[in-house]
């Protein structure tokens, strides 16, 4: 850890810039996988394994763990985004498509249609929502769910396999970027944020929904108890995979606090960085504007 911060400090002063490229090969930096310390190259592999195993029961487990609240959180995320027809949106780590479906539904919503410009209706066909996920299993589950919901042949929904740290989209091509419950699984958060900044247009918004830190005194203890005792047990019962859910709750604790994450977002180049705590801090929605 210390090595990493020194490295970063030196990099800022441009002392190591000629060596930068070779550095990543010379030093293997460690990162966190839950409470374990693992090498960076291993982390993405291990995360991949986690999600391959949970993919089929992912949505059910979400419902059980949050008591159905995750739906409300995602609704809140989408309403903050305020989608509009003709929007080009990128949902990263959105494997099973929850957020993407909601955005599509909100754009096609008949009620909103009444209040729109004629121009908007013409542009409706240009809406494109990209769902990007590093794990193909999650994407398959998402495609199946799209079929069930009637979005199977909707041209607006595009499923892309890709890495949040190295997106294959052009600079300044997206109106919106969301990442729901995905950023803590990324090995280098700053890279993901930098990619988000690159890919957004001027005026584009970055929104991140993530489990975060609770500070309220009594609630914090209740939440800790629930996280460490109930959730892994649920994982074992329902998904048959205790370790994945142990990783999940540990990774939440290791994730930076709301303020720190907001600073990281600002450092990536975003303006007007704000966050909103839901359920007392269990979940936080961070947002930023790109100019």
């Amino acid at each position: 850890m210390a090595l990493r911060s020194i490295y970063r400090g030196l990099k800022k002063n441009n002392l190591l810039s000629p060596l930068c490229n070779s550095c990543s090969h010379l030093h293997s930096h460690s990162t966190s996988f839950g409470y374990k310390e693992v090498r960076e190259e291993e982390k993405s592999q291990m995360v991949g394994n986690v999600f391959t195993s949970v993919a089929s029961s992912y949505d059910l487990m979400n419902d059980l763990m949050s008591g159905g609240l995750h739906r409300l959180w995602k609704e809140r995320l989408v309403s903050k985004l305020n989608p509009f027809p003709g929007m080009k949106h990128l949902d990263v780590a959105g494997g099973t498509g929850d957020v993407a479906f909601r955005i599509l539904e909100s754009i096609n919503n008949v009620g909103r249609r009444a209040m729109r410009d004629i121009h908007d209706d013409n542009v409706l066909d240009e809406t494109q929502i990209f769902v990007c996920d590093i794990n193909p299993n999650m994407l398959n589950v998402g495609k199946k769910r799209a079929q069930e919901r009637g979005f199977g042949d909707n041209k607006s929904l595009v499923w892309v396999e890709g890495d949040a740290e190295a997106l294959k989209f052009e600079d300044g091509s997206m109106d919106g970027y969301t990442i729901a419950f995905g950023i803590r699984n990324v090995t280098h958060i700053e890279k993901a944020l930098a990619e988000a900044h690159r890919v957004l247009k001027r005026g584009g918004r970055f929104l991140c929904l993530e489990l975060s830190h609770v500070e309220l005194p009594i609630f914090k203890d209740l939440y800790d108890y629930y996280s460490f005792s109930v959730i892994p047990a649920l994982g074992e019962l329902v998904a048959g995979d205790r370790e994945s859910y142990q990783y999940l709750v540990e990774s939440v604790r290791r994730f930076p606090s709301q303020e720190k994450f907001a600073k990281m977002i600002a450092e990536a180049g975003f303006d007007k960085v704000e966050y909103e705590n839901l359920v007392g801090g269990v979940v936080a929605i961070h947002s930023g504007l790109k100019f």
Binding site: N82, F84, D175, G176, K201, G203, A266, Y275, E276, L289
Partner: protein
């Protein structure tokens, strides 16, 4: 003076008036969103002429350094994104009410029927979007910014309306600073003229103004809209030369607030050319307000008394008995009444009120007196309530007159 009073009451004002370097607490970029909605909306809707406090730039870490801007102590410009937001809002205003451009000859031309269609569609596409996020999306597209920015305004339509209100206030201030002929008018005319100037700024948007009013009346927006109106009214009174600092300050602002609101609402349904009827209405109200003070003083006592002969006589009795008139012969007399029989005051007196205040027990006298005074006050309050409930007359003056009539 009004500015110090305003600063006392409306903390947001000191940021709004560009003349002050405010030491208000900075908007922390990481503060939770919900409650500074008014804050950031106010910040977003302030136009480029305002100055932000120093600490804001310092607390924002790298977005400013990315743009190569160094924090400056004096005269710092607004943050880049706020300027962009203001530009978007300014452009959106053009889409709130789009001008009506019929080209009827084209449509009805028999030969050119086909060519006419796309013009027709174009014209249909010019529908006014009103104070909505559709207008803001159109505005954003015009400025060349992604329409997602609309989502970053905390209360979307309200941000547009508030921006417009601030913009109008700023224009009014500019007009006041420029115009010198205001001092030639008497105060009531000055006030009327200023209200008229302000309302004329709204005239282009009058077809969609009811929507704006309803947005302002929503619970989440009402605090900011109230502040904006208070600032407006303050500005008008100050320009009209108001120097009061006591209870009058509040009374004047409230009265003018009422006049402004009623005129605004009257304007919504006024179809006369150039809103002539509205200005006549406005002049009437202003005149009444200035006469109101005199009216109230004149009407209060005499009408109240005249409506209740009994009370009047009671009062007279008290008055008379507390300031006795001495007969030259040394006897106490009541005007137009029989002289009191000192031996048997109770039986000699036929007037009920005298009985109460003339027993030999001084404490009883005083108690009776106080009870009656209290009764009268209660009665007065009850009567006022009834009068209000019974509905007002056609004008404020009529209302006051009705109040004190029977």
């Amino acid at each position: 003076m009004y500015r110090s009073a305003a600063r006392r009451i409306l903390p947001a004002v000191c940021r709004r008036t560009g003349h002050f370097r405010s030491k208000a607490s900075p908007v922390r970029f990481s503060a939770p969103i919900i409650h500074p909605a008014a804050f950031s909306a106010a910040a977003a809707s302030e136009n480029a002429r305002n100055h932000k406090p120093n600490n804001f730039e310092a607390s924002k870490i790298s977005s400013s350094s990315n743009e190569g801007r160094k924090p400056r102590v004096t005269d710092r410009p607004k943050a880049h994104w706020q300027e962009e937001q203001a530009r978007v809002l300014q452009a959106s205003l053009r889409h709130v009410v789009r001008p009506f451009l019929p080209n009827l000859q084209f449509y009805y031309s028999k030969n050119d029927l086909l060519i006419g269609w796309d013009r027709l569609l174009n014209f249909i596409g010019q529908i006014s979007l009103g104070w909505s996020d559709a207008a803001m999306i159109a505005g954003a597209r015009e400025v060349g910014v992604s329409p997602s920015i609309v989502g970053s305004f905390p209360r979307k339509e309200a941000a547009l309306v508030e921006f417009f209100m601030d913009d109008c206030l700023q224009r009014l201030i500019d007009i006041i600073d420029l115009k010198e002929d205001l001092t030639n008018l008497i105060p009531s005319n000055r006030v009327a003229k200023l209200v008229r100037i302000r309302l004329e700024m709204q005239a282009p948007y009058i077809s969609k103004w009811p929507q704006a009013l309803s947005i302002q009346a929503q619970p989440s927006n009402i605090a900011t809209s109230f502040k904006q109106r208070a600032m407006l009214v303050d500005e008008i009174w100050h320009a009209a030369g108001d120097e009061s600092t006591d209870i009058d300050w509040y009374v004047k602002r409230t009265v003018l607030g009422g006049i402004y609101s009623t005129t605004e609402i009257y304007m919504l349904t006024d179809t006369s050319p150039d809103f002539r009827d509205t200005w006549a209405f406005l002049d009437e109200r202003v005149r009444e307000a200035f006469d109101l003070k005199k009216t109230v003083q004149e009407q209060t006592w005499t009408h109240y008394l005249a409506s209740y002969p009994e009370r009047k006589q009671q009062y007279f009795a008290i008055y008379l008995h507390t300031t006795p008139v001495r007969h030259p012969l040394g006897l106490e007399v009541l005007r137009n009444r029989k002289p009191l029989n000192t031996n048997n005051r109770v039986s000699a007196c036929h007037h009920r009120s005298v009985k109460k205040y003339h027993s030999s027990d001084w404490l009883q006298n005083i108690t009776n007196l106080l009870e009656d005074a209290q009764d009268m006050q209660i009665f007065q309050a009850k009567y006022l309530a009834e009068a209000v409930g019974a509905g007002m007359g056609g004008s404020v003056q009529g209302f006051v007159n009705n109040l004190f009539k029977g």
